[in-house]
Amino acid sequence: MPPAVAPARIDLVAHALADGTRRDLLRLVRDDERAAGDLAAAFPQMSRPAVSQHLRLLHQAGLVSIRPVGNRRLYRANADGLTEMGQFIDDMWTDRLTKLKAAAERAERVRPEAGQAKRSTP
């Protein structure tokens, strides 16, 4: 049975939040807008392109917004995007419970005698 496809939004947010560096980045831009260069400086053990890639993933997931100022790009946690963390869990359950319903009803139909026996029991 092929794996079911999860909504793209769920994948993006889950993937973005599954990495420690990206969670650290999100924390750094939670209250303050920061330039990409400042953020890269906070991770001296990491190359600047690697930090940029993490920021790109956070942006794609809608978790940070980018404001260009001159030749700099300023990052900040996106308040709307962050509600996605709660929304993500909500969407996940909506999605999964729909699949649970289908799977359980399929199993029940495969064993109709069990269901009938149960219903006839007072």
Partner: protein, 144 residues
Amino acid sequence: MTDINTETTTIEQTVRIAASPETVWTFWTEPERLAEWWGTDAEAVAEPGGLFRVVMESGPVMRGAFTELDPPHRLVFTFGWEQNAPGEPLAPGSTRVEVTMTPDEGETLLVLRHSEMPSTHASDHEKGWSHYLGDCLAAAATGP
């Protein structure tokens, strides 16, 4: 159906399933059945304290433990992402899921409540994240 209590930051969903609670129960406690709807692979030791682990197809791994089991009517387990360190949002053990299955005319009314665990030893930093997530759950109730 979704309802979110903003005071306790609990997500609640209800689904009606044309199957008996006994059948639905097995889809929460048997690994091969969990793999039919939640993830691609699952481990479930259906006893208090037993490991509950589900690998989702999009990558994240849910790691938790069963805390209460009353077959086939009610089960409670902790829920977190295996990759998240303690104190981070949705770290293992940080949230709680309660599932109740009530028989109704040969079918099952399933209610799922997902809530934050009370934090007992959070530093200010961790508390901030806990509140952060709480705000997010609350905001999800009203929508963007």
